[in-house]
Amino acid sequence: MAATDTPELAAFRAEAREWLATNFPASLKGRAAIMVNLNVETDEPDFLAWKRAMGAKGWGVPTWPKAYGGGGLSKDEARVLSQEMVKIGAFSPIGGMGVMMFGPTLLEYGTEAQKQRFMPGIVNGTTRWCQGFSEPGAGSDLASLATRCEDKGDHYLVNGQKIWTSGGQYADWIFCLVRTDTTRKHEGISFLVFDMKSPGVEVRPIQLISGNSPFCETFFTDVKVPKDQLVGPLNGGWSIAKRLLQFERQSLSGAGGGTGGGTARFGAPDLERMVDKYVGRDEAGRVADADLRQRLIAHHMEARAFALTLSRAAAEAKSGSGPSAATSIMKNVGAKIAQDRAELSMEMMGHQGLGWEGEGFNAYELGMVRGWLGGKAVTIYGGSTEIQNNIVAKRMLGLLDHQ
């Protein structure tokens, strides 16, 4: 038991520990990074059993209400659960955009019928959701989106194109921003959900510079959507989208303790080990490349400052004084640190960091190259660095646009 546990928390800790010991398969220990991946569907029996157990218990979404299949835990209990899971190398098998973004949004804006219908699939991890926000003509200026949604009496008809649909080729359902009024910008957007198997939905994976295809183009041609799949009021989708993007930022920064794990995960996990392997040290034990050494130290300090800021924000949020001002900077800082780390790793590997595939390079080196390239997306998606800076300037500092 931790020194700070109340008797109630201590009892919960014991309960959680016992349940985890019974249900978490030892074969999965420490394999979170491999198992919980948007683009990999594993059918290992142990994984499926673990997913079923966690889904039934509601502990994949520990703080969500029990009425919708969540764990119904307090924040403190959820923290204890997470601590106990880390202790034994366990991880939540239930994640993705349903958990990180759509679920919390639906809890706030959905009708009772919509919650009863969609929450079980999220809570059990059986429905995979994708996000239909960005369009070819609507990136940072998201509200200029043009995918048309027309009222056809007994259904909506959707025509248009989405892009950067993460995991679109694997998704079962999509939550989507559509234009229901062409005469107004923000006030003409609605929030619609539909089945990706609907006639007229076509998904084309996009090959990225890393060689992977985590994103898709998604085309809609006369897609019929039942009217009870509109979330929130007609033309009221923009507020819902903004709320959902807050959840996204939270999970991208790692601030929400979400399954995203934070953007700081790109690049080498242990820079010091890389120094020994690729760079070497002088007689005094210092990194042999003096210039690189300075930048490694500065990077290390930046990462520490970020980690301290994450825990400060968590402590402030827990104290009930509202969300910390620090959360507004986290996406940018986390993304920058992740990219710097990948760049430093590439620099240290030198020619060993130039391999694309095949002989002459080990799996770690090849993985680093792909990770470095893939990581360039973190300062673009989820609101680019520039958009985040706009948000800080306007919302935190009160600096207005040109009038």
Partner: protein, 378 residues
């Protein structure tokens, strides 16, 4: 902002009120123009001490409130906002910490109550060269029959003209660059052979060169064991670094807020300056640095209070970050104010000057990055 206790919130709020009321930037300007040798207003410091601020880290047994370093940091953040000149860092934080960490019972009884009440000012006399490098201590401490004789010079001693007593780092053995062989001595300012010369610094605070010419001190003047003074000095310096970083955070915050306010009212091309994206993103950058710095400063102060084993790296992280953040913001303050920021009538220049003085004190950013790197095996 760290999660504060009710008492800490009251302390922070009362400091904020007092500073606004009694010690606005105008007070520093007046001090500067009066040319006072002390480098602070003794009447103001007496008020601060009367509120208990000089005894915040001092144990109750010695007249303090034992309220902790994070609490003192809260006060320093507020005094930093308006550049309040006082011996709070030199005496109530630095010297008090050294005495608490290594002083004998007699030394503590003699000085801590007076430091806590503000009746005495004590200060660390460390520097000998242009840059902070405590290991380079060379001022000679030669053994005599009854104690030691001190010969040498200390420079940039904060509040050196006002101090009643110095805590002097001296070399009793070994050579400059080594930690072993440094001893700490408590030397009254009126000891025979001590002469002091005022330095006029650009931040208008008090500093002095202190010459020690055959100053005789007894064994009872030693703080900590002979030759092992660095074991007391290093943790004392880390406490000063963390506290000064809190003061610098306050200075940076005020410089930032003053600048943002100006961006909201200054109109050019028919638009407020703050509506130009080039400036908005620089403002966002400063805001980001301030948030990160606050996390580091509060973590360092809390680590001191709870006695964790990472105080050294956190103190270096806090001081390095405070240095870099204040450096950036003090420059941006002048640049974003444009011509008016170059005038003596505007406060920007006062913040810029104080920024550089505080950056140099107890280790600049390069010093602390290097120290952090060594601690982490780079």
């Amino acid at each position: 902002m760290a999660v504060l206790s009710e008492e800490q919130t009251i302390l922070r709020d009362s400091a904020r009120e007092w500073v606004k009321d009694k010690a606005p930037v105008q007070a520093l300007r007046k001090l500067r123009d009066s040319g006072a040798a002390f480098g602070y207003d003794p009447a103001l410091y007496a008020e601060m001490a009367a509120m208990g601020w000089a005894g915040i880290v001092v144990p109750e047994a010695y007249g303090g409130s034992e309220f902790g370093y994070l609490s003192l940091g809260l006060v320093l953040e507020e005094t930093g906002r308006t550049l309040v000149a006082s011996p709070l860092v030199s005496s109530a934080l630095g010297a008090a910490s050294a005495l608490m960490l290594g002083g004998t019972a007699a030394q503590k009884e003699a000085w801590l109550p007076k430091i806590a009440s503000g009746d005495a000012v004590a200060t660390l006399a460390i520097e000998e060269g242009p840059r902070h490098e405590p290991l380079s201590t060379a001022l000679a401490a030669s053994r005599t029959g009854s104690g030691f004789t001190l010969n040498g010079t200390k420079s940039f001693v904060p509040d050196g003209m006002a101090a009643d007593v110095f805590i002097v780092a001296a070399r009793s053995s070994g050579k400059p660059g080594e930690a072993a062989g440094i001893s700490l001595f408590l030397v009254p300012a009126d000891a025979r052979g001590v002469t002091r010369t005022a330095l006029k610094l650009m931040d208008s605070r008090g500093a002095a060169v202190i010459a020690f010419d055959g100053v005789a001190v007894g064994e009872e003047a030693l703080i900590g064991a002979p030759d092992k003074g660095f074991e007391v000095l290093e943790p004392a310096l880390d406490r000063v670094r963390a506290g000064l970083a809190a003061e610098m955070l306050g200075t940076a915050l005020q410089a930032f807020e003053t600048t943002i306010d100006y961006l909201k009212v200054r109109v050019q091309f028919g638009q407020t300056l703050g509506s130009f994206q080039a400036l908005q993103h620089r403002a966002a950058k400063m805001f980001t640095e301030l948030e990160l710095t606050r996390s580091c400063v509060e973590a360092a102060l809390s680590a001191i209070d709870t006695g964790t084993n990472d105080i050294r790296e956190l103190a270096s992280l806090a001081k390095a970050r405070a240095n870099e953040t204040l450096h950036l913001i003090s420059n941006e303050m002048v640049q974003m104010h444009g011509g008016i920021g170059m005038t003596d009538a505007h406060d920007a220049g006062l913040y810029l000057k104080r920024a550089r003085a505080a950056e140099a004190a107890y280790g600049n950013a390069a010093y602390h990055r290097e120290r952090f790197g060594r601690l982490h095996g780079f």
